[in-house]
């Protein structure tokens, strides 16, 4: 008999339901509205009443309408066929929906996530008698460029023995490919797909490892100064229009990982369109296949139901965990985690929970931490490793980082790419503020050079502030040159044109090379005799580097531009001086080890203690 209840209250996307049988927290229920059934999730139970968040528009529902409980937790389908898909927050395939419904979404319409008619070439890897447990492979299929492991469903917690295994052949996801039995001898048929509740982390690995290997994004300021690690976490807070989404878009294109899951969470639908339309056409130079083959998009944009937005990040991370379980490196890009937090806030407000800061619920922090905790580099039981890296944008109200979501996120991530309005206004893209940002991870450049460079930038900034007080005439030529060096490094290295086909992505190799040339210039004592001289030198150098940056790697142009740069630089390099000179040493003494880490950061944050702590830890970590 079906467990049902009836509606006794409706408040926007929240319904209150009276029931008689048993109801489980987070179980899925359907509100019946004429022909259609609206999907809901139980989010609070009090005696014989449950509050359900409705994943769709509630207009038209009324008192006493029937609600059917399913007994199942909110889950996603896992199996071959996820890659290349465009899903909504509850894993409905949007292309398929468009095929059936045309321009508009329609509530009450649900389609299975995995294509059921596709046949996959299955190759078994076990034989009858073999012992298995959850997540062990029984065979593999080819999914695009990947060897997709067909695994024992994650929820099977016993030890099992293979009774029967399908032979190599083509099967669809629902066909049986294996038969196993548990200790008591009950037989369990396995197909190539199973379900997993999205709110439960998958932890079927041997151990979590320290994320030590850099994840190459091919964005210079990130890889060189504020790196991200495979299995690590990072966040990108910034005011609107500062470039969060563009940064994630180019990362989704260029990052060197196996799989990218884009979680478009509560922002513009238009931003996803570019990815949907362009990725199938872009060939990934590393695999020779279209980028779409390594991408999954979970798209619950701002005008789609708010409750489904809240669920969408979990839908994304659950699919990531599934592929990590195959020994792959997965990157999740969530844009924006603030919209997710706001969805939580809306829900909390309708539940009339006691509000915390800015009306966010009291559990905001632990929920954010819980989400990022699902990242990680892990060693699987077969000895191979897999990773999930999470990068989330944060959209702070008023662009002020002093707000609950930014603060809660900063506590748990390993790198912070703070975007500044000033930089984006001046079209200095990517607008990551080098004086404010930090990363605990090791990148492609040794930490000493990294610190060195950040200190140069910090010193150059100090001098520019000084000039505002004492004027250009008030500072020494040496200081002026140092200031120009900082500007120069910023202009030709940190800034990167996302819309130039070459400059858009800089390989690790190229970064190392260009960085070493620039380092020579900024470490050198230059033969410049006046401020005008100095300005002209750096203007010309900038010009040459811009030309260099936009020339194709290892093309004739590239070598020619490099030759010109070296020639030009050697003319001005003071004879007899070696790398690293008194000017810079002096700067180092003045700006002190920790000055850039703590000063820049505490300045921006009143509630600075937490942040300072993170920064200091961070400063130590990079030593």
């Amino acid at each position: 008999m079906k467990n049902t209840g009836k509606i006794v209250g409706i408040n926007k996307n929240m319904i209150t339901v009276e029931f008689e049988g048993n109801v489980k927290q987070n179980e899925v229920a359907y509100a019946v509205l004429g022909e259609s059934r609206l999907k809901t999730e139980v989010i609070r139970i009090k005696r014989n009443r449950a509050d359900l968040q409705v994943f769709e528009d509630t207009r038209g529902l009324k008192m006493d309408d029937v609600v059917e409980f399913t007994g199942e937790l909110l889950s996603v389908e896992l199996g071959p066929g996820l890659l290349g898909q465009l899903y909504d927050g509850l894993q409905n395939p949007l292309h398929k929906l468009a095929g059936e419904l045309g321009f508009f979404l329609q509530r009450g319409k649900h389609i299975n996530a995995l294509p059921e008619d596709t046949k996959w070439e299955f190759t078994p890897c076990v034989k009858p008698g073999d012992k298995l447990q959850a997540a062990d492979a029984v065979g593999t299929v080819k999914e695009g460029i990947f060897t997709h492991r067909i695994m024992v469903p994650f929820h099977l917690s016993d030890r099992y023995e293979v009774v029967d295994i399908a032979e190599s052949n083509k099967y669809s996801v629902k066909e049986q490919v294996a038969l196993i039995k548990d200790k008591r001898g009950s037989l369990i048929p396995l197909s190539m797909m199973f379900e997993w509740p999205i709110r439960s982390p998958v932890t079927l690995y041997r151990e979590r490892l320290d994320p030590a290997e850099p994840l190459i994004t091919r964005i210079r300021i990130i890889d060189t100064l504020f790196p991200v690690a495979k299995g690590g976490t990072y966040c990108i807070p910034g005011p609107f229009g500062a470039g969060k989404t563009v940064l994630q878009q180019i990362t989704s294109r260029n990052a060197k990982v196996d799989i990218v899951i884009v979680a478009a969470c509560g922002e513009r639908a238009g931003e996803v369109v570019e990815t949907i339309k362009e990725f199938p056409k872009i060939i990934d130079p590393f695999t020779g296949r279209s980028l779409m083959e390594r991408t999954i998009i979970v798209c619950n944009t701002s005008s789609m139901p708010v409750a489904a937005r809240e669920a969408s990040v979990y839908t994304a991370i659950t699919m990531a965990e599934y592929y990590r379980q195959m020994g792959l490196d997965v990157l999740i890009l969530a844009d924006s985690t603030s919209r997710w937090a706001q969805a939580m806030r809306e829900r909390s407000s309708r539940l009339e929970e006691i509000p915390g800061e800015e009306a966010f619920p009291a559990y905001l922090e632990s929920t954010i931490a819980g989400f990022y905790e699902r990242s990680g580099l892990v060693r699987l039981r077969d000895g191979s490793t897999g990773s999930i890296t999470i990068g989330g944008t944060v959209s702070p109200a008023g662009g002020n980082f002093e707000e609950p979501v930014t603060q809660a996120t900063l506590k748990v991530v390993g790198a912070f790419h703070g975007l500044s309005q000033e930089r984006s206004d001046a079209r200095h893209y990517p607008a990551i503020d080098p004086l404010d940002s930090w990363s605990k991870y090791t990148g492609i450049i040794d930490n000493q050079s990294r610190n060195h460079t950040v200190r140069l930038l910090s010193k150059a900034h100090e001098i520019s502030q000084m000039m505002k007080v004492v004027g250009e005439e008030g500072i020494t030529l040496d200081d002026y040159i140092l200031y120009l060096k900082g500007e120069f490094f910023d202009n030709v290295y940190l800034q990167q044109n996302a819309f130039d086909s070459v400059d858009m992505a800089t390989s690790e190799e190229r970064q190392k090379k260009v960085f070493s040339i620039i380092k020579e210039i900024i470490d050198a004592t230059l033969d410049l005799n006046s401020k005008d001289d100095a300005r002209n030198f750096f203007n010309r150098s900038r010009q040459m580097f811009l030309d260099y940056n936009s020339s194709e790697w290892n093309s004739n142009d590239f070598f020619e531009n490099e030759r010109l740069i070296r020639e030009w630089f050697h003319k001005y390099r003071k004879a007899g001086t070696e790398i690293e000179t008194h000017i810079f040493r002096q700067a180092l003494v003045e700006s002190e080890m920790d000055s850039h880490f703590s000063r820049a950061k505490t300045a921006k944050t009143k509630k600075g203690e937490r942040l300072t702590m993170v920064k200091e830890e961070n400063a130590e970590d990079i030593q």
Partner: protein
Amino acid sequence: MQKIYNKIIQISGNVVVLSATGIRYGELAVIKSERGDSFAEVIRIDGKLVYLQVFAGSGGVSTGDEVRFLGKQMEVSFSDNLLGRVFDGTGRPRDGGPTLTKNLIEIGGPTVNPAKRLIPSNMIHTGIPMIDLFNSLVESQKISIFTTSGEPYNELLARVALQAKVDIIILGGMGLRYDDYLFLKNTLESEGSLSRSILYVHTAADPVVECIMVPDISLTIAENFALHGKKVLVLLTDMKNFCDALKEIAITMEQVPSNRGYPGDLYSQLAARYEKAVDFEDAGSVTILSVTTMPGNDVTHPVPDNTGYITEGQYYLNNGRIEPFGSLSRLKQFVNKNTRDDHRPLMDAMVQLYAYYQEVLEKKAMGFRMTRSDNRFLKYGILFERNLMDLSVDISLEKALDTGWRILSECFDPEETGIRTELIKKFWPKKKQ
């Protein structure tokens, strides 16, 4: 079948509560009070209690007034007969013309499937260099004019509307001052555009809550014309008033405010409207240009802030001109790659140089000696403002680009501009002998 009730048990703010059964969430009702009829919408059901948001406000509503439930949601008539007409915030004629009752459609329909959206590709030329050159407006874009009261934002709105090559213009006015309404109407009329326009106007004199329906009605009509192949431009002025009406209702409903009294779902509410901007495959499009006034010129105020996060950019109108900083078109890169080779690099370089100019200005204000290079920037800033920023400038994009190069060459050596050599060779004006 309509249900009629005569017992209102609570009146507070613009919300009334009564006991009723079989009522659907979102259903429309009509309340007959001594002040006349008003629409009301079911915004909450709690057991037998039904909460109604009264569009005309609850002033004068009595506990004994008749409440008639219509068994349907808010609807509006859609046909070509709308063209040239003026309505109020709930769709009643404001121009003395006949009430339209044919072909009623529900307002605030479902969301477009993201899979069906197109990449925007048509630039809308306005003749305003700060738009065309620096932040191109694109068909199907949703973009807002950020400004303060007293600025000529309605003039700018009208100017863009008349320049844009669209089939239909829909004006949604919220809390519009009467003379602003007349100005907009007369401008459309004098340019011969009224016959392709539809006006939904809520004026400052009308009940506050009534303006809540304006964006929904305007956009529903726009969407339907777009589905019929029309290019529609929707003008919404002033969205600040729309947000204030939302705030008022949220407070009445005792919702916990998130920021300065505004409800926590302000972002979602704005998104539900702005996301109606769309380009339909093999059909028409909806472009939204709105006005958002910022109290105290404060862009961090919740209304401009949430708007900025959801729109595809903003034109920051300040001191009678569109500022390069703070202004942004997020769609410009879809169109400025197909204009002229120099469009993007020139745009970037000019704004970067203008940012330096601002710094030099600061230095100058502090009384420091200006260097030779500083003086170049000062000259640049003035030429830029005079020849490109001034709103009276009305030139084609081509002309604007040429003007840009001319200004650069009058002020700087090529190397000072940060533009790649290849482009300098191609576009830098040759020195006159």
